[in-house]
Amino acid sequence: MSQSCILVTGASSGIGQKIAIQLSKYETLILGGKNAAKLAATRELCENPAKHHIWECDLENVSSIRQSLEVLIQHNNLSVHGFIHCAGMMKVMHMRSVDYQNALQIFNVNFFSATEIISSLLKKKINDAKLANIIFISAILAQYGAKGHNLYSATKAALDGLMRSIAVELAPNTRVNSVLPGGIRTPMSEHAYNDPVILENTLKEYPLGIGETADVANLVEFLISDKAKWITGQQFIVDGGRTINISNK
């Protein structure tokens, strides 16, 4: 009998790490990321560290994902019932500086990695049709715009477009949803929020202040549970009121 588990990408830090810690109370996890040492550190923060698996994989290298995941699943006799895609990179640049190479890099990490993983997990001979739940960590930038976030916005919007269509295609076996955070304090954003000028400007825009990783993880915990059994194909904004705020700054 295979061991049922949830795959969390981007589990080394930030939102992915927090989700892993919270879900580890009652789930067996595959912690995905590119740095095994950091994943091992996340595992130590989880409940019952020994029962969770580490999947070291650089998602930028899309062509290696499928085989690497399949080997992990087969060697450990796992079945994956949930996939939470937190892995993501951010690039801020002028549109005139965008080229195919930097566009491809961010799309590989943020988007194509997810399509490879999902396609693999839906194959009966790999995962025995066990995938019941998919959650993408998208961003409010999937729906709104900001200077310099051209490619990042596009990758998150791509995830949400995929989310809606496969929510229909995979029903009733698999529920698919996206969580769209606003500004959250994580290692990825730490540098920006340590910047007093950026922090001051940001605080003016967030009625509830800057978010914490737990604010996202709590919603993910609900969406992955059976309490959300009639919810699929939706985008959920968690942004401390950022996108509904039209006050004069």
Partner: protein, 73 residues
């Protein structure tokens, strides 16, 4: 740091840049340029620069000195 001048020229949309040139005088200078410099320092040189550091700078040469000084630490 070999490519610093080339990268700045590309960012500022000119053929080349000199140490004495004033950042804000470039036609292509805008708020996103400073964010791009912060991102470039982080990704290419593994150096953390903050907006308030940049606000104190006038010229290309001063920016280079800032990056050089942080790189040595």
């Amino acid at each position: 740091m070999d490519n610093f001048y080339e990268k700045m020229a590309e960012l500022l949309e000119v053929d080349k840049v000199e140490d004495s040139e004033v950042l804000k005088d470039f036609e292509a200078w805008d708020s996103l340029t400073s964010l791009s410099i912060i991102a470039m320092a982080d990704s290419d040189y593994n150096i953390k620069i903050y907006t308030e550091d940049l606000l104190k700078l006038e010229t290309i040469g001063e920016l280079k000195s800032l990056i050089d000084s942080k790189a040595k630490k």
